[in-house]
């Protein structure tokens, strides 16, 4: 060795592996306008398809007259349910075991429902033709309230289910009932609550909202009748599952279907579902023999594809006088809209709502969720969260605050008193989960110290006193949240979607000159997989991340995987990448030993090379080994250097975090200002700190939107009142505060590199933090609970209802 020999640190830095804030490889094309999104795809002879949609929330479709539309030059065809029926495609299965109309079959059940599909030469002719389709409706009574839906004499919404007293998830006890899903010990919980010192009870509503990615949903289907091959480019968060579903529905053999997710302009759960537009573009291409593009506009998107939340959560939490929690009960009335199209693992019709015991050591608990049909859009996707985890976190973090009021205790102290202790992990929760790892007390203390919690409380009480003296009209709210997520679905033994186990995969091919390509079963929608998966591999196989191409989203080339949602990419596909990398390394070890003329066990891995034990100057780098694998006959070893891994996670991962929001509220206008937001996240091993921070900023801003104004609201006859970006709140740079991020690092014990996933934590933890800040500002004036979203009018109303306007 000499001075020019790179040190271990230099070799390690060159890899840009785990822990490196590597700049994103995606950015060169995106910043130059060279992304390739679905609507950018243009094929020869391509036609445009779009929907005639229902203006009514509930109506019988008496007739559809397409003659005038067909007479318009440039219109190719108009599809209705009658045209799809012979193909058995007028209905389609949903991910939740229900079925959904592709096109209105006799009636419509929500405003914006797809009634007919017009195919035309361009989008302008298409729009003209949509206006010319005459649909005769007969209005029916509308139900937008899930409690009214369950009244004995409520109008029957799903006539197709008449007489069916059992659904995909068990008994249906009413004609508008979908399922009751239970978890925990009901009787034991009731006993504990009935005999408790203190019980806090509250109805916590998590309103209906929408993921609203900036790019709407769309697809381009192209049926090649010569080769019998169907290719579909689309906004798919789970392309492989889409291929399987497309094959089962269409009867086209799976090898003759190619699904491609190109660049995706944000997903946040919106692009997990299978939508009528995808089905109709495929049918239209088969019928016309030409490529057919369908792209939603924003109103279609907000009205028809994939709402989120809409959970009415009635809770009881009990404790001893000194604040030790003894039991938790939750009953949810879940508004699923017209069809149960929730995107959850099959055995979990209410997702992982049973993570609702949160970060607390609660000895006994019970959860019951009643799914109910209403005249609203179907969906129920996990909007930037693992399945229903945001609802669960919001519920428990509100219940804790209400309990603190009941006990007359500080809410931070109440949390600390009840956290699961570090030494209790792995922790078995009362509702059946095994939390893998955590250190909540450390995170909590760090967070409270960082914001100067005690001083804030002091300032707050001074403010209250000043308010009472008439010296100010502004209040100070301190919003606390400690959340625990459950992500990385999931173990095949209990997690599947449409029967497909929720494993994921990675396939690596090392090229002779020491660069590589890896393909995974996931698909990035902005998370930066091409950057971070290469970092995982760089640390595993010792080739620079810059020399590793990552490819996802093309089912013809990528190995089968369940896709990207529920923060599962890092926990599952990231693990597959590490495991595939280790297979590469195992083979490389044999090649290196042969080249170094020693026994396999006499070489050891060192960052980017195998070196002879005790003689580090004798080594072969991974690049040298790669070359050798292609040009040397190694006895007993096949040529080439490739590996594939299908990873079935042994458990979920449990990221957690401690957030504090400090908010000023003007009592007279309801205007709020966020003075400080501190977010501490523990996502286990940190792959790319820069990307983690970016994920946290983005998720917090979505949480801000949801907590402070964003909703999908309906009037009593089922009109969507928030169907454009004028009414549907998305914060701009002006309304968005500055965030301070921080971290602790508690690796997952079962994940190959200890990573847990982070993309959704800020949404899960952010919503309670913002909402609790509003509540906390009014705590001294008697507020217990007020429903979100906390827009200016609603905050003003809180003050008004409390008699604060004189």
């Amino acid at each position: 060795m000499n001075d020019l020999t790179p040190t271990s640190e230099e070799r390690s830095a060159k890899l840009k592996g785990l822990g490196h804030s590597r700049k994103r490889v995606e950015d060169a094309r995106f910043t130059q306008g060279k992304g390739n999104y679905v609507d950018d795809i243009k094929l020869p002879g391509m036609l445009f398809g779009d929907f005639v949609r229902s203006p009514y929330a509930h109506a019988r479709v008496k007739s559809i007259n397409v003659e005038a539309a067909l007479a318009l030059p440039g219109v190719i065809a108009v599809l209705t349910a009658k045209d799809l029926e012979p193909l058995n495609l007028h209905w389609m299965p949903t991910l939740a075991g229900d079925k959904q109309m592709v096109l209105a079959d006799g009636k419509v059940l929500f405003q914006g429902q797809e009634v007919a599909f017009v195919i035309a030469e361009d989008r302008y002719i298409n729009a003209d033709a949509i206006d010319l389709v005459e649909v005769e409706y007969e209005e029916l009574p509308v139900i937008t309230d899930p409690f009214k839906a369950m009244e004995p004499d409520a109008v029957v919404l799903r006539e197709d289910l008449a007489g069916q007293t059992t659904g995909a998830h068990g008994e249906r006890r009413h004609h508008n009932h979908i399922f009751l899903w239970e978890s925990g010990d009901k009787e034991a919980t009731e006993d504990v609550i009935n005999s408790a010192d203190v019980v806090a009870e509250e109805m916590v509503y998590y309103h209906r909202t929408h993921p609203c990615p900036l790019e709407t949903c769309g697809s381009v289907a192209s049926m090649d009748k010569v080769n019998g091959k169907l290719t579909v480019w689309g906004t798919f968060q789970a392309p492989h599952v889409v291929r399987t579903v497309a094959s089962l529905l269409s009867g086209i053999e799976e090898h003759n279907i190619r699904i491609v997710s190109p660049d995706i302009g944000g997903g946040f759960g919106n692009k997990v579902g299978v939508y009528p537009g995808y089905v109709c573009s495929i049918v239209a291409s088969i019928v016309t023999g030409k490529p057919v593009k369908w792209v939603e506009d924003r109103m279609d998107n907000l009205m028809a594809t994939a709402f989120a939340r809409d959970y009415w959560m009635k809770g009881k939490i009990s404790a001893t006088k000194d604040g030790k929690i003894t039991g938790l009960q939750c009953h949810v009335t879940a508004d699923h809209g017209a069809f149960d199209a929730c995107a959850d693992p099959t055995k979990f019709p209410a997702g992982f709502m049973n993570i609702c015991t949160g970060s607390y050591d609660i000895p006994v608990a019970y959860l019951g969720v009643d799914g109910v049909y209403t005249n609203k859009a179907p969906g129920g996707v996990a909007y930037r969260c693992s399945f229903r985890v945001t609802e669960a976190a919001y519920f428990i973090e509100r219940m804790i605050e209400v309990l603190a009021i009941e006990l007359g205790m500080d809410a931070a102290e109440l949390r600390a008193k009840n956290f699961i202790r570090k030494d209790q992990f792995p922790y078995q929760s009362a509702l059946g989960w095994e939390y893998d790892s955590g250190d909540y007390h450390t995170a909590w203390t760090k967070a409270l110290n960082a914001v100067g919690y005690k001083d804030l409380r002091k300032e707050q009480s001074e403010r209250v006193a000043a308010f009472n003296r008439g010296e100010t009209r502004s209040l100070l709210g301190i919003g606390l949240c400690h959340f625990t997520e459950i992500v990385g679905a999931g173990p095949v033994k209990n997690c599947d979607i449409l029967g497909m186990g929720m494993f994921d995969s990675c396939e690596i091919r090392i090229h002779p000159t020491g660069s590589a390509i890896a393909r995974l079963g996931t698909i990035s929608q902005g998370q930066g997989h091409a950057t971070t998966f290469a970092q995982i591999l760089a640390s595993e196989i010792g080739l620079p991340a810059d020399s590793i191409t990552i490819e996802e989203g093309d089912t013809d080339t990528a190995p089968y995987g369940l896709g990207t949602y529920g923060s599962r990419s890092t926990p599952v596909a990231g693990a597959a990448a590490a495991m595939a990398g280790r297979k590469i390394r195992a083979k490389a070890q044999m090649i290196a030993a042969y080249l170094l003329e020693v026994h396999d066990n006499d070489v050891e891995w060192d960052i980017d090379r195998f070196a002879v034990k005790g003689a580090p100057e004798k080594f072969k780098t991974m690049a040298e080994i790669a070359y050798a694998s292609y040009n040397q006959a190694v006895p007993g070893v096949e040529p080439g250097l490739e590996a594939v891994s299908y990873y079935d996670p042994p458990n979920m991962t449990y990221p957690f975090g401690a957030y504090v929001c400090v908010m000023e509220i003007d009592v007279d206008t309801g205007v709020h200002e966020i003075r400080q937001f501190y977010a501490l996240d523990d996502c286990g091993t940190r792959i790319n700190p820069m990307i983690i921070e970016g994920q946290v900023h983005g998720g917090l801003t979505e949480a801000l939107a949801i907590a402070m104004g964003q909703e999908i609201a309906y009037d009593e006859i089922g009109n969507v009142k928030t169907g454009t970006l004028m009414d549907f709140f998305i914060p701009t740079a002006w309304e968005t505060p500055h965030y301070t991020t921080d971290f602790t690092e508690t690796p997952s014990p079962h994940h190959p590199i200890g990573a847990k996933g982070v993309g959704e934590s800020p949404n899960v933890g952010g919503v309670p933090a913002f909402s609790n800040a509003v509540h906390d500002a009014f705590r001294a004036f008697g507020l217990r609970h007020a429903h979100m979203p906390h827009d200016q009018w609603r905050i003003w109303k809180i003050a008004n209802d409390l008699g604060m306007h004189g």
Binding site: R24, F30, Q32, G266, R298, T732, T736
Partner: protein, 163 residues
């Protein structure tokens, strides 16, 4: 519908085409001229994904008729730097993680480009205000603001060095 004869100068190139009077500028660019950098996110002027420069002003091309752009000089994200290269702003967005899914990015950078000509040395508040017509669902804006401020100081430093 009868078509109109339009002449546009797009990213320095003269373009002539026939378009219906009702055709939107964004559709003409994306579908007739294959300029797909500007995106469509809302079609109601709210999101800014379609932002471009028309005669030296930021406009949202989803609510401009192509006919209104007749004779205009238009710059899209594709025209901000030589193909295959990145200008100071584009580099700054990459350097400071000012983008994630990339869908808002062309409109965002094109708007920022104009903003820095309107206010060459902006405060954070001026950047947040000046960018409020462009929505991003991924980044929470913090790193977008950081990118723009970093680009501004780099451009100003380069200007000073040149003077």
């Amino acid at each position: 519908m009868s078509k109109m004869h339009l002449k546009l100068k797009v990213n320095g190139e003269e373009k002539e085409l026939l378009a219906e009077p009702r055709e939107l500028l964004i559709h003409v660019l994306r579908e007739r001229l294959d300029i797909t950098g500007p995106h469509i996110g809302c079609e109601t002027s709210h999101c800014g994904a379609c932002t471009l420069e028309m005669n030296g002003k930021s406009v949202k091309s989803c609510t401009v008729f192509a006919a209104q752009a007749n004779g205009a000089e238009i710059t899209t994200i594709e025209g901000l730097a030589e193909p295959g290269t990145m200008n100071v702003l584009q580099n700054a967005f990459r350097e400071h993680h000012g983008l994630q899914c990339g869908f808002c990015t062309p409109g965002m950078i094109t708007r920022a480009h104009r903003l820095l000509q309107e206010i060459p040395n902006p405060t954070e508040e001026e950047v947040r205000h000046g960018m409020a017509g462009n929505l991003c669902r991924c980044t929470g804006y913090q790193n977008i603001v950081k990118s723009i401020l970093a680009a501004a100081s780099e451009m100003n430093a380069a200007k000073e060095a040149a003077e």
